[in-house]
C-alpha cells in the first residue's frame, strides 16, 4: 500500500496515540505555564528590573551607542553575535558543500538551475535599476546602526541580496555581476576573521577577548568602544553579505561541483564526480 501523492499520511496505531498524548501533555503544560507568567507589559517584572536596566541606563555612557540593541548586540553580548556570525557562516559553508561540492550522485537527476529567465523584461530592468540603491541602502543600514534600527547583519543581508539580484533575475546567462561562490566565500571568511581579529587584538592589548575598551584607538573608552563596534558591525556585514551570496548561488542558481571546482582553480575533471 503505497502512499498516494499529495495525501497526508499519519502514523497509525500506538505511536499515533502516544504522539497525540505527548502533544496534549505539551499543550497542557504550556498553557499551565503561561498562566503563571508575569503580565504582558508589567514594568515590575523581573525581566524589566533585573539585568536589563543597566543596558538602558549605561549603554550610551559605556559603549557610545544610542541604539541599545546595537550596544548589547555588539558589545555586552558581542560573543553571541560572534556565534551568530558563525551560524550563518556555517549555513553558507554547508550549502556550498552540500550543493556545489559534495559527491554528486550518478543517480541524481541533474538540476535545472536557473537556465531560463526568471522574470520579464520589466523585472530585469527594475532589478538593474534597483541594485545600486539596494547596495547604498545596505551601507546606510550598516553605518547608521548605532542610532537607528539596523546594523551589520541587516545591512549584510541587503547587500548580499543586492549583489545577487541581477543574477537571480537573469539566470545563468545573465551578466556576471556580483561575486561568484568562491569570491563570496572569501568575503565571508574575511568577515568572520575580521570579527575574530578584533577580539584577538583586544586580547593582545591586555583585555579579554572582544574587550574593545583596551584597543588603542585614542579618546575615551566609550568612543573607542563605539569605533570598535562599528568595526565589528562591518565584519558581520562582510560575513553576512558573502554568505548570502553563497546561499543564493548554491540554492537558487544551482552552481554545480564542476563549476565551483573550476572557480576554485582545481583540476577535478568533469564527469569524475558523476
Amino acid at each position: 500500500m503505497s502512499p498516494a501523492p499529495g495525501k497526508t499520511r499519519l502514523r497509525h496505531g500506538v505511536p499515533r496515540i502516544l504522539g497525540a498524548l505527548a502533544f496534549a501533555a505539551l499543550l497542557g503544560g504550556l498553557v499551565a505555564g503561561i498562566r503563571d507568567l508575569p503580565r504582558l507589559g508589567d514594568p515590575a517584572s523581573p525581566a524589566a528590573t533585573h539585568v536589563s536596566p543597566r543596558f538602558i541606563e549605561a549603554a550610551a555612557r559605556e559603549t557610545g551607542a544610542a541604539n541599545m540593541v546595537t550596544a548589547v548586540l555588539a558589545d555586552y553580548r558581542g560573543y553571541d553575535t560572534l556565534g551568530e556570525t558563525a551560524v550563518i557562516f556555517a549555513a553558507g559553508l554547508g550549502c556550498l558543500i552540500i550543493l556545489a561540492l559534495a559527491a554528486a550522485d550518478r543517480r541524481e537527476t541533474p538540476p535545472p538551475g536557473l537556465t531560463h529567465r526568471f522574470g520579464s523584461p520589466i523585472l530585469d530592468v527594475s532589478a538593474r535599476v534597483l541594485t545600486p540603491w539596494i547596495l547604498m541602502f545596505a551601507l546606510y543600514v550598516l553605518i547608521h546602526g548605532h542610532v537607528s534600527p539596523g546594523g551589520g547583519f541587516q545591512g549584510g543581508v541587503l547587500f548580499g541580496s543586492g549583489l545577487v539580484v541581477v543574477r537571480l533575475v537573469r539566470g545563468r546567462r545573465g551578466p556576471a555581476f556580483g561575486p561568484g561562490p568562491r569570491a563570496a566565500l572569501v568575503l565571508a571568511c574575511a568577515g568572520v576573521l575580521a570579527f575574530l581579529g578584533i577580539g584577538f587584538l583586544a586580547m593582545a592589548f591586555g583585555g579579554e577577548f572582544l574587550d574593545y575598551g583596551t584597543l588603542p584607538l585614542g579618546g575615551d573608552e566609550a568612543h573607542v568602544r563605539e569605533l570598535a563596534t562599528l568595526g565589528v558591525e562591518a565584519a558581520v556585514f562582510a560575513a553576512v553579505a558573502g554568505t548570502v551570496c553563497v546561499l543564493f548561488a548554491t540554492i537558487s542558481a544551482g552552481v554545480r561541483e564542476t563549476e565551483a571546482a573550476r572557480s576554485a582553480g582545481s583540476a577535478s575533471p568533469p564527469g569524475s564526480d558523476g
Binding site: 526568471f118 541587503l158 541580496s161 540554492i251
Partner: protein, 83 residues
Amino acid sequence: MIPPPGVIGVGLLAVMLVAATAALFARDLLVAAALFGVFSFAAATWFALVGAVDVAFTEACVGGALSTILFVSAAHRTRRWLD
C-alpha cells in the same frame, strides 16, 4: 512611549496563525510561500508594535524577504514539491 498592542496586536497574531495554518496546508508552493510571506510580515509588524524595531526590521529583511525568496527559488528548480 508605545501603547500596549491591544486589539491590533491580537488581530496581527490572528493573521499570523491563519496565514501559518494556510501556508502549511496550501496545495501550491507559490501560494505557500506567499502565505509564509504574509505570516512573516504580520510578525514583523507585531514586533514593531511592541517596540522591537530592530527585530521587526530584521524579520522583514530575513523572514519576509530572504526566507521567502529562498523557498521560492529553491522550489523553482523542481516541480511537485508538496506531494
